[in-house]
Amino acid sequence: MTERVARLRQLSLDTRPTLSTERAELMTEFYRQAPAVPLPILRARSLRHLMERKAIYIGEGELIVGERGPRPKATPTYPELCCHTLDDFEILDTREKISFAVSDEARAAYRDKVIPFWHDRSIRHRMFEQLPQEWKDAYEAGVFTEFMEQRAPGHTVADDKIYRKGLAGLQADIDRQLASLDFLNDLEAYDKKQQLLGMRLAADAVIRFAERHAEQAERLAAVEADPTRRAELELIAATCRHVPRQPPRTFWEALQAYWFVHLGVITELNTWDSFCPGRLDQHLYPFYKREIEAGTLTRERARELLQCFWVKFNNQPAPPKVGVTAAESGTYTDFSNIGLGGMKADGSDGVNEVTYLLLEVIDEMRLLQPSSNIQLSKKNPERFLRKACEVIRKGWGQPSIFNADMVVAELVRQGKSVEDARCAGTSGCVEAGAFGKESYILTGYFNLPKVLEITLNDGLDPRTGKTIGLETGDPAAFTAFDQVLDAFARQLRHFIDVKIAGNQIIERLYAACMPAPFLSIITDDCIAKGRDYNNGGARYNTRYIMPVGPATTADSLSAIQYHVFDRKTVTMERLVKATRDNFAGAEPLRQLLVNKTPKYGNDDEYADRFVERLCGMLVRDIDGRRGPTGSTYHVNYLSTTCHVYFGSVCGATPDGRRAGAPVSDGISPAHGADRNGPTAVIRSAARMDHARSGGTLLNQKFTPSLLDGDDGIEQLAHLVRSYFKLDGHHIQFNVVTADTLRAAQKDPEKYRDLIVRVAGYSDYFCDLTKELQEEIIARTEQRQF
């Protein structure tokens, strides 16, 4: 790593995140005098207002430029979506983990300007006015979460069009579309025209933002004493004059072009999972190859540029939430997740020289952001997987590994063309999507063990004391296991219905009130349809619901069948009472449930079939249902950190889990439940039908000793290939000892840089809450014997 990169990286690591009110103040200023124009144009003008006025930052030694806030890690707020209170600011400033420094000026700006204007105008405010009581009851009980209550839809990834066309090329597409509007026969022509004009204007706003960087670089160059830096600043200026308006000509311009587009997306709205360049190796390869052959770029210079690009991602912490809901996802990560490898549109091997260069960059940078993954196809060379395994073995949680062939199968099943599916990949944590062509919105996590708890309490939520579910009968009266399963299935359907009914309101609310003209330009087919991204403009529109805790739920069902109905070791009445009492006075029973119950993750059909049945129910209740913008629902098994929150609101469960303890993550076995090693876990996990999901997440934790030597790498690679032969979607590895983690808990200063795989991402271990730290330590450590 060059001295420049080392310094920029260190600066990024050392800078404490601050809360910036720049965007909120500019937005308030704009909206107070909002012109009476159609909504898409209003939103585009608000973006232009921001991009013309926000502070321009060009840091010392930077090659890639542009920040979302006025300086690195200065994180904006989005009051039109949700408006922070002064209490929120106090919490953010003082909390121990994931804090944001809030200045007195920022508090004053909010108190005097932002809050008075936005407190009853935000989307969140309007949303809660409109959502039905039964939705709110279930939400407060912790049956599900809602992604769009604080952040905008988004959750999409760039394809290659910005490199091919530039924003000017896309504006030309808009102009052609405008010229072809048929006002006589197309009754939506007027709406389309406003949408298209808004998109055109939004592109201008981002082009202007780039030009302002050029102007700033020229000013800096004029007073720069060091000739080397002066030349760099002149090059930065020339780059920012050219991209993102025109298609990039060089490797450097390509990176800078993407970065301006990235900033455009995440400044326009606070899109969930920020934004992501997707298949960066494939997008950059043509530039790399051309320049290497022409002798205008060296591999080392390409590496330095990529590393400067990496720092830029790390400078953008996820904007903080309002209220005290940070527990749902306590992290600075904003889930930009860059994928390598996979295949090309024609289905051939997508690995190239930039792929290997990027693996080296990932290995050297060791930053929280961006996250990284490999898309492993059966067509990819073994060298690619081995190189990735070597990085994985170092134990800081990146990259994770996806089955590219399976991602194609999942997307084709959802109705995508095979070419679009091959150019697709995964983003966020594990979510499959067609890059540049799909709006695949995560709508919220769904608490499966909670639904079982409510079932075992005949519709009552013991924690809130409210009857929020169906009264499916007193479980003590059930005489056969099928009655338990039927009651659970009815309860599940009920809460899925409540969730989706709420989603319909939210989806319409965004479609009607919060268009995203800039995101629309870069997502096919918003221009062709003349429709906004948030109103079904994308070629594909998917809504995911993410069930959490399948293993905890399956193990609990297994315990009921095994102990109550098969072995009759305990009555239903006693088991339910013991869970209500959190096993007080029933430790032998709890131990029996923990240790002597067939559990998922052991390659044991008895237990695994409950996961299979559960997944069948979820597909039946969710898959293929429709949303009001023409979207279609699918199931996605990721939990991020929500399994900790869901556990905290869920009482004791029949698998012996105590009240408040985390539920299982992703499709991983419950903590300590898997006792037959990784091959058994893999066979259990492969029993569910991954093809009928939009993603699954499997965590495996290894001690470094298990992966020693070339042989360790080889066996890890074989393990991955085997799982993918069995049609698994994703697997990721934590390679760290429990002792190391314990030491880090005791002496966090010494282990600040310890990164662990959390869920679909990695995080600094010391930034995690105590509960989450415990939970990661508790994940079964796979040891060799």
């Binding site: 131990q591 052991n602 008895y606 058994a680 066996q715 393990l719």
Partner: protein, 317 residues
Amino acid sequence: MSTEAEGTRAAGRQVDEPGDPIGTILRIARFAIHDGPGIRTTVFLKGCPLRCAWCHSPESQRAAPEFMPQPDRCIRCGSCTAACPHGVLPAALADSAAPAGCTTCGACVEACPTGARELAGHPMTVDTLVALVERDRIFYDESGGGVTFSGGEPLLQPEFVLEAAASCRAEGIHVAVDTCGHVDPDALLAVAREADLFLFDLKTVDEAAHRRLTGVPNDLILSNLERLAAVHPRIIVRFPLIPGVNDDEANVRGIGALLASYRLTRVDVLPYHRAGLAKYHRLQQPYALEEIEPPSPSHLAGVVKRLAGFGLIVGPS
């Protein structure tokens, strides 16, 4: 990776098919990656003719099932006493071994909610075992792995191992046998016909030292190795390196010279480790080598170099 009783049930079969040889299995480890090539399932059979002072698996030595309690898990619930059909288990004595009158029927193990009462060794038919081994076929196919019969000493149960190995091979699964060599030569040669690979343990060439360290002389072991070398093409000799016990230059040179004379080509040096210590405590057995530390990397490198001087390929790396 222990499967223990869960594995038996997981295989979905009961031990009730008459005429099938029944083996006493200590443990079945899946994702074993150090017992031969690739990802393997290692089947540990119970019972061993040797009593090596450094044995890291003391529960494998006796042929019969035996209790291996984990007293720190016991919650004094009394379930084991209540479950004992012979009424011989005193109240709340998870940490007791088998009392007088105990038949090691396992009822107390079944009843114990915490796993404090564990039985080392359980009977299994060939069919049950092979079904379990076959579960990881996809991993063997991918990695060039297979099954390894180890112990204890697998060839103390020759009929069982022979049939299990033949069944695995008939299913296209690569078979390795890990033996101490102190076994019936006929059994060894019979199993050799069904094994793709032998892992043959050799501790010391010195007869007196061998007797002192393992409780038996080494003449049978050496003659068996010579016999096997004459008929089997794939033998890896495994040499456990115990500092102060068998790591002297004379022994290392002796082993090198012997293997060269048998025209063997590959020896793996396994450095001593102390992972088995806790098991001695659980079995309430004394451990003779409490004071010994694992060999230093430089010492290990010296031994490897010396063996390589005999033209041997020295592993495991």
